[in-house]
């Protein structure tokens, strides 16, 4: 074997086995650096695991999360449809703790103090040397304040953060009167998971076909057309859910009566029996409060090599909160976390981070309990534009299929395991 091949193989074995070429002083830097991660969704949990793995378990990592368990938004629409139980998409953080030695703290974070480098929680401050925030999304109720009270949220769940609201919405669907109208409102882009609302329409229609065949799904979309996998959804709806799904583009909400379920858009008034308002979105509350949002005030700009905030350089930001120009997806969040982890460790040991990160995204949408379709893309860092741009290739399924449904289920099991195990 030639020397270069041997070195490549050895180097790969080193990196693959999680080993890192650490000098004595570099090893000390790593062991003494305290990394705190706020938010244990796809981005935060993946960052925690990979920081531990890629530092050979030398880097102390604390992960702060307010929820007791991880509930996956991907696949949660099938809980609505009735083919999947919430327990099947719920995972614990046990493996991060026991297998990877992440310190997981279940707490609510009140604020970040970037000057003192502290995360303020209900039980006291947590000091950090490096902070990664992955606070997900917050909802903008400013145009629809009547949906903001607790009572309103119970009547009009968004179910756009999987968990209790998913079950509440499923129950509303199950109890809907015969011939009732299940309305889904779609906010203007950008929002978490572009194809999600349309997948939800499929799942609800699939449920209705079996249990309430005179019922209807009304989709009131603020966007001018279906925002993702458009031709695929249009054809699927025409072929399988004709008469069940009523799709209204260009229909931004102007008013809602939560009690009666009456909804007004610019041109029309609609009566609904179950109302699922997916509100307009912004970065997680904590990111906004810490002053990380850009001039438009909704999403946050970062450096795409390190994921450092462009507003507060010592704070890193991952996931849906980031204005990445890419779809807000679990796979993107998971990929960003790895770029961030790699560059953070590189800087700690005095090695240049990868200046041209590349990652992939695959996103599956289920049209019923068994069949799915995908969109796939590779993204590369463009150092002139300073953003991630679409690479060559990429594309969509030709049509949904059971084979792709199996692929989708495998994707979910592997990404959950990759994020949490």
């Amino acid at each position: 074997m030639k020397r270069r091949e041997f070195i490549n193989t050895l180097g790969a074995a080193w990196l693959g086995a999680g080993a890192w070429p650490l000098s004595v002083s570099a090893a000390r830097n790593v062991r003494q650096a305290r990394v705190v991660i706020v938010g244990a969704g796809f981005a935060g949990a993946t960052a925690a695991k990979y920081l531990r793995m890629w530092s050979e378990y030398q880097l102390p990592v604390t992960l702060i999360e307010q929820n007791a368990q991880f509930v996956s938004c991907p696949t949660s629409n099938l809980v609505l449809g009735g083919s999947v139980q919430l327990s099947a998409i719920t995972r614990s953080y046990e493996n991060l703790i026991r297998k990877h030695g992440v310190t997981v703290r279940r707490e609510t974070v009140l604020a970040i103090d970037p000057d003192r480098k502290q995360v303020r929680t209900a039980t006291g401050p947590v000091s950090y040397d490096y902070l990664i925030m992955a606070p997900g999304i917050s909802f903008d109720y400013s145009q629809l304040p009547m949906t903001q009270t607790d009572a309103a949220k119970a009547r009009v769940p968004h179910a756009w953060k999987a968990g209790a609201q998913t079950q509440a919405l499923a129950r509303q669907l199950q109890h809907m009167r015969k011939g009732g109208v299940f309305a889904i409102t779609v906010p203007p882009l950008p929002y978490r998971c572009p194809p999600g609302p349309y997948e939800r329409a499929c799942q609800v229609a699939w449920y209705l076909k079996q249990h309430n065949p005179t019922g209807k799904v009304l989709v009131l979309d603020a966007n001018p057309g279906i925002t993702s996998k458009r031709a695929l959804f249009e054809r699927n709806w025409a072929e399988h859910y004709a008469g069940l799904i009523d799709y209204q583009p260009g229909s931004e909400l102007s008013a809602i009566d939560v009690d009666s379920g009456t909804v007004r858009t610019v041109f029309d008034t609609w009566k609904t029996d179950v109302l699922n308002v997916i509100p307009p979105q912004a970065a997680g509350r904590l990111a906004l409060d810490t002053g990380l949002s850009n001039s438009e005030g909704r999403w946050c700009d970062v450096d795409f090599v390190t994921y450092e905030s462009r507003n507060v350089p010592a704070i890193h930001l991952l996931g849906d909160s980031v204005d990445s120009g890419l779809p807000k997806s679990a796979h993107i969040a998971n990929s960003q976390a790895k770029v961030c982890a790699s560059s953070m460790i590189a800087r700690l040991v005095g090695v240049q981070p990868d200046p041209l990160p590349v990652f992939a995204n695959t996103c599956y949408s289920y049209v019923d309990d068994m069949s799915a379709m995908h969109v796939a893309n590779v993204y590369r860092y463009d150092p002139e534009k300073k953003e991630m741009v679409s690479a060559q290739g990429g594309g969509l399924s030709a049509y949904p299929s059971a084979k792709e449904g199996a692929d989708a289920r495998s994707w979910a099991k592997n990404i959950w395991s990759d994020t949490l195990d």
Binding site: T9, A12, A27, W54, V351, F359, N414, D418
Partner: protein, 108 residues
């Protein structure tokens, strides 16, 4: 390789690479392929070990990986997800991924 201390592993690598400069250069390229390979984990599993029906990549002979990826690239089935991903990568990245995955411990 596992079971060796950090210092021992470091010295082994230093001797083999010959210079810190070379190590830094090798590291940046290896960092690129490691993060890229990690992005495959969403379907193919952490360190290329799948926990479901998507094939594992860990331990796949590099010639096999390379030929499968080049076949995906050349395929006429534009709608296939792996064709779409393979076309987003450079030939060099495919080569590096092939070497990278071949060295990972295969699933038992």
């Amino acid at each position: 390789m596992t079971g060796m201390g950090i210092a021992t592993r470091l010295w082994t690598l230093v001797l083999l690479l010959g210079a810190t400069q070379t190590m830094a250069q090798a590291s940046t390229t290896d960092l690129h392929v490691r993060v890229l390979a990690a992005s495959c984990a969403a379907c193919h599993g952490t360190n290329g070990v799948s926990v479901a029906s998507t094939p594992s990549l860990a331990g796949m002979p590099s010639t096999q990986f390379r030929s499968r990826m080049m076949a995906f690239r050349a395929s006429k089935t534009d709608a296939d997800v792996m064709t779409q991903h393979a076309r987003g990568l450079t030939a060099e990245e495919i080569d590096r991924l092939a070497v990278y995955f071949s060295a990972l411990p295969a699933p038992r």
